[in-house]
Every structure is written in C-alpha cells, then in structure tokens.
C-alpha cells in the first residue's frame, strides 16, 4: 500500500462522489434560498420583493467552507488524531466558561471573548466523536476490553452534554449525546446493554415528559400530536409547514411558485423549515430527491468508516455520519410532524453559518479518513 503523503496524490485520491453529493445539496440550498427571498407582493413597496441576500450569503459561505473542507481533507489523519483530545478539553473548558460567564443572546448563552462571541457547543459536535474515536483506538491498542471502557466513554459524552443542556440548548445537547452514543455503539458495546438502555429510555419517557421538560418543551411535544389544537399558538408553525408540504402534491407548484412561502406564513422558513419550500415547490419528487441524496451521503460515510484500517478513522467517520443522520432525520421528521419542534437545521440547505461550518469541517475529516484509509496509527498518550 502506498502512503499518500504528498499533497498532489492526496488531492487525486479525494472522494469525488461524496464531494459531488455535497455540492448538489449546497446548490439546492442556494436555489431554494433564492426562492425564499422572493415574494410577489410586499406591502412596504406595493410590488414584488426580491431578496437574493440569503442565496448569495449561502453560496459564498459554502464556497468558503468548501475550501476549508478541502484543506482539512489534506491534513493527515495522524494530525486529526492528535487534535482530538486537545479540542475536546478546550471545548469543555469553554463550555464551563459559558456556564459561568456566558452572556445571553437570543435565549442561549454565548461566551464573550473580547470582540468575538463564540458558541463552543458547536465545536463539541465534532470534538466528541473525535475524542471518543481516539479513546477507543488507544483502548484497543492497549488490549483493554470489557464493559468499563464504555462507562468511561459515556463520561466523555455526558460532560459536554450536561454543560450544553445548561445553556439551555436541548437540540445541540441531544446531537452531542446521540453522536456519542453512536460511537459507543460502533465501538462494540454489548448489544444487551444497548437493548437495556433503549428499553429504559422508553419506559422513562413519560417521567421525562412530566418532570424533565420545560413547559415550552412539553408544549412542543403536545403540538406534534395535535397541531390543530392551537393553530395560532405553538401549533401554528407546524400547521403551516404541513399545509405547505401537503399542498405541494406529487410534482410541486413549481420553482418560486410556493404560495405559503410567498405569504410569509412560515416563520424560520429559510432556516429550520427550509424543507417546506422544497416540498411545496417541487412536491413529493423534490422531497424524495433530497432524502435520497442525503441517504447517498450517509451510505458514503458508512462505507468510508468500514474501509478505514485504523479504529480511530472508523469510529470518527461513523460518529460524524451519525451526526449527519441525526441532523437530517430530526430536521425532516420535525418539519413533517413526526417529531417535536426542536431547533435543528437541515445541513447544507438551511441558511446559517454555524451548521455550515461544522458540517463542512466534518466532511473534510471524512475525506481525510478516506484518503488515509489504509494507515494503521499507533497512538499513545494525549497528542
């Protein structure tokens, strides 16, 4: 096996198919955001309103992060591995900083460091699977097996989860927890334990519902089961989303023809509810296309994971694939009324810089794992 050490050969062995699917999804995002910015009637001007800012920002942001992703892909996997623990520790320290000195902006706490305001919880979405992958990698090399290594792994997951939950950011906390658990699952925890935990979760769901949730969170759960009950309150958004999606029909109303969008009925439509525009304007065909392309991305992620020779690479790839899976599954599930409304965007398509950054760096990681798929790393210590 050849070592792909130099930049040119690394570039040449990029995962072009994955790159293509990512490009297609981001292009769809630009197109849909352009549609979202267009309205045939705007009362302030009494004419049509064209707002291409969303689309342009999205496109520019994508290209910028695509460069970063490609650069990340060229970083040898060994360096990724040595960044795993430091990134995790810095992330946890910053999260503690948020907890202690955070400033509240838009309902969540941010850390103000001079002129920049940062949200370390986003970093943890990548740092947690990386740290876990490295942890398991070293455990494997040390020939340590058994139940207890998974308990320590869970601690690695729970520390940032609890800290993020305190911000309070339920959506991100669930993402971190879900990703972490997926890595533990891939690392080979006993399936009986998995089954036991799932059974316990199901059994305790009512308890969580009645005692563990904030009132507004409980409202959202209720809304999911009966959006018509309060069409002007919590159910409003979901109800409008369902109307937009359902009225799209099989073939959709046509690009830029979505009337629900045009009347601004759906709040957050360019972010968390972007899928409604696709579903309305391109119908069942359009929504299934998005679903299938995302499925292809996830399949690629899994195949990269299983082809990686190093345990670190396999688990990191599987972890990031799980993150993407959670993003897509939760976002679409929530928009079509199968899950309660939590603030989770649809990566690459939804407008917003944070998720774009996380996901694109993640793709960089995925491609780095792909390039260095044959490298069996000997990792020791922290770095």
């Amino acid at each position: 096996m050849t070592r792909r050490g130099d930049l040119i050969s690394r570039l040449a062995s990029l995962h072009w198919f994955l790159l293509l699917t990512v490009l297609v999804l981001a292009t769809m995002g630009v197109a849909v955001l352009f549609s979202a910015g267009w309205s045939p009637f705007d009362p302030t001007t009494n004419g049509a309103r064209i707002n291409a800012d969303l689309a342009i920002n999205h496109g520019v942001r994508f290209l910028l992060f695509l460069m970063i992703a490609l650069a990340a892909a060229l970083v040898p996997l060994r360096i990724w591995a040595s960044l795993a623990f430091p990134a995790y520790f810095i992330g946890v320290i910053l999260l503690i900083g948020v907890d202690l000195f955070g400033v509240v902006v838009k309902g969540e706490r941010w850390l103000q460091l001079g002129p920049i305001r940062i949200q370390p919880s986003e970093l943890m979405k990548l740092a947690v699977p990386l740290a876990l992958a490295r942890y398991y990698h070293q455990m494997w090399e040390a020939r340590r097996r058994g139940f207890w290594i998974h308990v320590w792994a869970l601690a690695i997951v729970m520390i940032p989860t609890v800290l993020v939950l305190r911000q309070p950011d339920l959506g991100t906390a669930l993402m971190i927890l879900g990703t972490g658990c997926a890595v533990i699952f891939f690392a080979g925890i006993n399936l009986y334990v998995v089954a036991g935990v799932i059974a316990l979760l199901i059994a305790s769901a009512p308890l969580v519902y009645f005692f563990g949730l904030h009132d507004y969170q409980r409202e959202r759960v209720n809304t999911m089961f009966n959006p018509e009950a309060d069409p002007l309150g919590t159910g409003y958004q979901l109800q409008q989303a369902l109307i937009a999606i359902g009225s799209g029909g099989a073939g959709g109303k046509g690009y830029m023809e979505g009337s629900q969008k045009q009347l601004d009925y759906i709040p957050e439509q360019h972010t968390d509810f972007i899928f409604t525009i696709i579903a309305e304007e391109f119908g069942f065909a359009g929504s299934m296309t998005v679903l299938v392309i995302w499925a292809l991305v996830l399949v690629q992620g899994l195949s990269i994971a299983s082809r990686s020779a190093s345990r670190f690479g396999a688990l990191a790839a599987a972890g990031f694939t799980s993150t993407l899976f959670l993003y897509v599954g939760i976002n679409i599930g929530m928009v079509i009324g199968l899950l309660p409304v939590v603030g989770i965007p649809l990566p690459l398509i939804s407008y917003g810089g944070t998720v774009m950054m996380t996901v694109m760096i993640g793709f960089g990681l995925l491609m780095a794992i792909h390039i260095d798929r044959d490298e069996q790393m000997a990792l020791r210590g922290i770095l």
Partner: protein
Amino acid sequence: MSKDWPPEFRSRRAIFSAVGGLVFVGLSTRLAELQLFRSAEFREEAEEVQIRLDPAPAPRGVIYDRTGKILAGSKRNFYVTIRPERAASTQAIEATLERLSEIVPISDGRRKSILRDAASKAGFLDILVADDLTWEQFSQVNVLAPELDNSDFLAPVNAEVGELRSYPFLGAFYHTVGYVQKANERDIERVIEEELKLSSIPKDSPDAAAIARQARRLYKHPQMRVGKQGLEYYAETALKGTAGATRAKFNASGRLIAKLDNEGYKPKPGQNQVLTLDAHLQTYAINRFGGEAGSAVMIDVATGEVVMMVSTPSPDPNEFVSGISQTSYDALRNDEKNPLYHKAYDGTYPPGSTFKTIVAAAALESGAMSPDERIRCSGKAWYYTRYYNCWRPQGHGMMNMHDGLKHSCDCYFYACAQRTGIEAIADMAKRFGLGHRYELGITGGRSGIVGNNDWKMKTYNERWYDGDTISAGIGQGYMTASPFQLAVMCARIAGGGTTPPPRLVASGVSVPDPTVIDLGDLKPETLDIVRGGMHGVTSEAGGTAYYYLNGGQVDPNGELPAPYTGCNMAGKSGTAQVRVITAAERDSRGRAISNDKLPWKLRDHAWFIAFAPYDKPRYAVSVLLEHGVSGSGAAAPIARDLLHEALKYDTGAKSPFVPKSGEVASSTPPTEAT
C-alpha cells in the same frame, strides 16, 4: 487491509444501516401521506389561509313600538381599531395607544382590555379602541394612521365608519328594550348555547365546534354588540341576524394586502321586533313621575297587550353601548331611587289594600260572605291572640262588601279572610295573575309570593297560622306582587275572562309562556261587585280616592274623544309597608307615626290600580310610587292622568305596526341560526 480489529463493526454497521433504512422508509411514507394521499386537503387549506374570511356582523334587527316608532335602531359610528399583528409587541401597542389617546380619551380599563385581547390575538381580528368618535377625532386618526402603519415600533390602526345601536327614546325603554354592549365570554357562551338549542345540534359534534368558533370570532368583531338586558338580550339570536364575511388577503404578520369582493358572503339582517308598548304613552308616563321612584304598567283590557311599562327613574341606554364609565355606573348603582332596577317586573312589594279586591272575589266565589252582610268595624278586631287594627282608629261602623272596598276597611276584610280561608284566597290570587312569572320576552321578572300552607312549609318549614290569614286579608304579611302583576290583576278584574294573557312582543321572537294560569269562570255577579266597590273608591263620596280624583273624573274638561268623553274610572288604593309597625310606634290612640315624620327610605310605598272607562273598561293600569305614602293621595292622580292620556289617543285600539321588510316571522322562533 487489516480488518481483524473490529469484529463487531460489521454487525454494528448492519444494525445502523437497518435503523437508517427504517427511518428513511418512515420519512418517505409520511411524505407520501402528506403529499400524495392528503394533498387535496392541504391544498384547500392553503387556499383558505391566504384569503382570510373575517366575520361581518349583520345589521341588527330594529325594535319598533306599536305605532312604528324606532325604539332601537342604528346610527353612524366613527370608530378606531388597532390591529394585533403577530409581530406587534406589547410595547408597540402601548405606544400606539399612547399616541391615540392624544386624540381620543382611552380609559385605563379599556387600555387593559385592549392589551389583553392583543395578547391573545384571537383570530387576528382588529380590536376596538374607541367608538362614537366625533368627525374631528375621526379625521385626526385618519391623518395619523399612515404614520403608524409605516413605523416598526407602532401597531397599525384603522379609522372606520360603521353602525352603532342607538336608542332614540333615551331612558324610556331602558328596562324593556334593554341595551347592547361588547360581549364578554359569558355572553358568547350563552349565544352559542342558544344557537345550538335552536338548531338542535348536539353539543359535542364538530358542527357545534364550528358554530362556537364562528360565534367567538363574530362577537370579537369591533362592531359587534350583544344584548345585555331586556328584549335585546332575550331576542339576541333573532336580532343579530346571519353574519356575512369580508374576504381579504393577509400576510403572516396580519397586514392587509388586498380587500376582495364579498359576493356570496353578504350578511342577512336580523329579525325586526315590534313591541306592544306605545312610545308616546311611555314617555308621558316617565315625565308624569317627574323623577320620583316608581312604576306604572298599563294593559289593554281587550287584547292583553301591554301598552305602557315604565320604571322610574330610567337611565339612558345609549350610555351603555360604548361602555359606560365606572363613575357614571357607580352613580346609577348607588342612587337610592334604584334606576337600574326594573321595578315594574322585578320589584315585588306587598300589594296592600289592592289585594282586598282578590279577598272579596274569593269570599264571594266560595260563598263565605254574602255581599250584603254587614260587619261591624270598631277600629280594631280581636283574632286568636291579639288585636288587629283598622287603618282608621275610630272605626268605620257597619260595612257591607261595597262599603268595605270603598272605604278600604281593614276590619271587614279581616273577617272576609278568616271566613274564606287562605287556600281559597291563594287560589283566587293565582287566577288573577299573582304568583306567576310572566314571560314577556325581556330579562328579569319575578313571580312574587302568594302565601299558603304549602308555600310556608316549603319556605320556612312552618305551618300557616290562622293569624297569617288575617294579615293576608289586607294584602300584608307574606303576599308580594310586582306592579306588572297588579296590572294583570286589574285588567282581569276589568275585563273578566275575556282579557287574554298579557303580551309585550307584538311580532318578532316567540315568547312562549306555557304555565300561565287563566282566570277561569266566576259567578256573574262577583266581578260586578268588585268593580262596583272600586267605582265607589273613586267616584262615590267617602271613597278613599274620591277627594283626590275629583269624583273619579278621568275627563273633567271633556277633552277625550267619543265614546270616552266624560268617562269615569274605578280603582283601588294600597299601601305597602316598608317597615313593621311596632306597638311602640303607635301613639296613645293606636295610630302609627305619621309617615311625614319618617325619612324617605322608610316611608310606605303607595299603590293604585285602576281601569277606565268604568262602564266599558278599555285600559287597566297599576301605579306604584315608592315611598309615596298614600295610594289615594299620591298614586291615584298619576293613574288617572295615565288613563286620560291612553284614552286620548287610544293607540291600543289599532293593531300593532308591521315592519315593511319581510323579516318579521309571525311567531315561529328564528331557525336560520348558523
């Protein structure tokens, strides 16, 4: 490739892929459901949301008097509303109200209720800020409106022209026609319940939910009012008509994009109502009372139609329509003359000596007393355990029934009552219309009390004592009746069995009163004797009211048209004691302390019931003057003047006005409720 290390990895990947596949199938299935199978349903809904149908109140049914004068109509109303956009914050609305209050005064209570409504944003309907604006205020708001519209920190307002209920006769019909006001939750609940009952839709059906939703939205409309009292309340579902709708395009924040035509959504006006009352007589009566607290009810003896029903003093219902100020309302509520109280229908008082007519009729019918038998009155009489006093301490001497009525001799009626017994008296009282709440189609109404053994056992768990019967003989003790009931009683004395049950609504809503008791058959001479006695009261020297009525002349100056020229009246006075006269209050000669020396609130109420002409009765009237002391002195002249005015125009002889529009359904209840 060395793949020895992850022994479990393959199986984990398979499980993960299976879960992923399941999620994929789940999402696809749901998408197929929404976009393929239920698409039509959502497409319809998408259509609805863009074009909003807002309820448009129908013109409220007009209420006429019997001569066709409008008692409750509408006037032009300039009003201003605020639009609770989804985007508008409480601060924005507060700031907007601040700006508006420079033009129109907005009370603190109103401000609070606007903010509350805005917070609930019920259906994004405009919220009324103020109405009944002057033209100047209206144009100032119009100038301000575009500025608010374009501001991000203020909420948009609308100055509009609509209609507002108005009551041209001011206080004359406050208690009967009533008034309308903005609806509260209770009102809306009541209307919904009534509509469901009328259309016999089960309460928990989806149709019922739709009706409730529509009613809720309709009654939140800034122009919509609900009947709060009187006929306005009783006939609410008929008066309000069938609401239409306005169609308009709105965006998500509630800003109007375009108004659309409302073809096919035109409202259907409410059903007009005609009362049997005569606005002229009504106004005359209120003026005749001259600010004194009292009540008068007049009934057409031939038709049973109530041509006059007043309760004084009477507030102006127009003040209530746009929301009466707390200070004005408190002033009305704390007024010792009780203007808010419908004395004619809700007020029950001891009938006093007017009840002697019933005792006489009962005694004659039961045969307990022959009309010519003479009873000796010495000023007091001993029954069972104590003396019962006659109002005339020196006594009346020998009294037959005619004289007993004419002089209102208490001793005579003590004897009558004792011989007749309470059960026969109570039965007779009910046949003459006491003890029953008449359904007239207005709010309120009380049955009063016709006491007997059963009633007393039920109410006090105590048997009827013989002494109670003696008191009942002169209309004191437990007996109570409203001025309205005494008018019915008087009409039945005057007209006998030919007088139909009383009616207030000539056409419009149906007013069923299935439990009304008829007079039934009496011996032919019974009513003649009672009427004769009442004639004696007014028209024979020595009659209690003779002196005050100039011999019972209704028409001393010959002003009345034929056949009423120079006619006479017959009547009976009564005194309703406000307090119990204790022995200590009587002076050495057994006389009670003169009323003149008592504070107004403690003086006796004065009654007079009368009908005219005596020989061929047309109208029967009852007059109550609160704390008026003397029935003959104070109430009788009012009764005479009211009868004079009624006979002068005799509007009761003409059948009530029929409105032109085809809206008046004869007597069936309105069923077009939606």
